[in-house]
């Protein structure tokens, strides 16, 4: 996946802004992902150069953390909580429903590029489970109908 020149420039700028920060790599990766939507392959060399690391080290860090994506993601990210408190309130059925209605598995994006589905392990909303995160909004007590409503609010998806 190639990036355009604007994206390349913003990665260079972000590396520049972060390079003197102690332990800069995670904040930098978050910043790049915030700007570009994911951490493109071509960013690795720029990051490695700027932070004085090997490419292998940068790759290693990107692949270690669930948050960092190396492929473009949908316009919206929907995370379903898979952890125990949500399971006790029926999240297993909810995740099956979500995969079926969206026609995708975890870590995949709907064909129209609207929604990427991700698992998450606890959103700290465990007293009002099951929990779902839609971009930066956390939603409580999500049953199948509520899930369909949330998807519809994102403009639907196939």
């Amino acid at each position: 996946m190639d990036i355009n020149q604007n994206e390349q420039q913003s990665i260079i700028d972000l590396v520049d802004q972060h390079k003197d920060l102690p332990g800069a790599l995670l904040p930098l990766l978050h910043a790049i992902q915030g700007e570009v939507g994911y951490v493109p392959d071509s960013a690795v060399a720029i990051i490695a150069g700027g932070l004085n690391l090997s490419r292998a080290e940068v790759h290693g860090v990107i692949s270690f953390y669930h948050d960092f994506k190396t492929q473009p993601v949908g316009r919206n990210t929907v995370q379903i909580c898979r952890a125990e408190a949500c399971q006790s309130m029926g999240s297993r059925l909810l995740e099956a429903h979500a995969k079926e209605t969206l026609g995708i598995d975890y870590h995949q994006t709907t064909a129209d590029g609207n929604i990427t589905l991700e698992p998450v392990y606890c959103l700290g909303n465990c007293a009002c489970s099951p929990s779902v995160r839609v971009n930066d909004d956390i939603v409580a007590r999500v049953d199948q109908d509520r899930f369909d409503e949330l998807v519809a609010n994102l403009g639907g998806s196939q």
Partner: protein, 508 residues
Amino acid sequence: MRFFIPQDTTALACGAEAVARALQAAGVEPVRNGSRGMFWLEPLLEVETEQGRIAFGPVSSKDIPSILDALETEASSHDLYLGPVDQIAYLASQQRLTYARAGLGDPVCLNNYQALNGFNGLKKALTLTGQQIVDQVKDSGLRGRGGAAFPAGIKWQTVLNCNSEQKYIVCNADEGDSGTFADRLVMEADPYQLIEGMIIAGLAVGATQGYIYLRSEYPVAHKLLNIAIERAVEANFLGENIQGSGKTFHLEVRLGAGAYICGEETSLLESLEGKRGMVRAKPPLPAIEGLFGKPTVVNNVLTLAAISSILEQGAETYQNFGMGRSRGTLAIQLAGNIKCGGLIELAFGVTLREVVEDYGQGTYSGRPIRAIQVGGPLGAFLPESQWDTPMDYEAFAAIKAMIGHGGIVVFDDTADMAAQARFAMEFCVVESCGKCTPCRIGSVRGVEVIDRIVANEDRDNNLILLHDLCDTMEMGSLCAMGGMTPFPVRSALAHFPQDFTGQGLGDN
């Protein structure tokens, strides 16, 4: 008349924003307070009246017109009327120290914090030597509230004793355990209390830089912490020459990236350094060689939050709560399939049954409780015969369970405990840092073996194999991720063997 509607994650997740907008549409500008932690009542609307603060909940935007009408005439006639908020039994019966301020006002308002005794602990600390502060923490009996319950004062003493130009205070705000939200509630309802505790920790051990390592799953806490820090800097509670004392403390929030293992303190430090979150072998202790190789205090949010009141009210006040070697209060988080879930701060010693029955009022589904998991994903599943155990670190250890960070997840009688055991192994597959073979590979095998047992394939031999696997994980793992994943597995097997016969109720 002032109105309050929380800006806490769960309140927002239950629709607090729409309620706030409905109030605004009716010409009322609500205070966005923190949550009281009575989450089943969220969004909880509070109204300041001549009789004190009265509450309505759970409210939706549709209820606002009728509530405003009722306030004109007879508030108690409204269906959602709950009475004076501080007389709600769930809250009134708690012993709130850490959460004394939670929900009272706007969490990022500095004036509000100071009006409620905020920064009094810091002011005292500024008159003391580092050793005097550490002595107070030791005398309080405060133990780490992140899970391992290590005495905080002893850790601080180690860091104080180190000779180093640079030392660090690191707050562990990774709160990864399912069923926990105590750290989140502090950060969202009373963030200055954490900031104050970290400054005091810095004064105590001679550290001038602090980091809050916050999980990325907490966007609301992230936003509020950053606002609070910015305002604390402006008011000179952070930065150089704090309140003219000549002391310095800088504080920064760093976001995690969705790795459960980064809650383990050495993995967390690696992550803060910008590396993979691989667990380090101990020794050296982080207190001696921690962040960037420097002496570092790593404490949980609740441990650091407890510091300000210990300094303000004296070590003895804190020490007077609790039982045995478990001093102070425990932040119990009641979650899962429960009618009245929320934050319950009590002195140590309450039984699990009292928590789930008296506070929780049973399950949300209305069905009987079947199993309770205490202490997060590495905690055992407890059957009814163990619910009379008092919540105290030692009493729980005696039944091979743990209190950990105080999370309680309730399951009703539809829970399939074989599926839960399988999930425990699966979680370890997903979240292992990969350093030790028993954890990395053992958990993969664990999932397969449980599948074979449930499918009735060579059952007896596979059961033996599963126990052997658990032994290997317990003995051959560097940290509790691999070392304690067997606890939920073995407890499910021991107490709910019928679920492993292939006729379980779950869908897995």
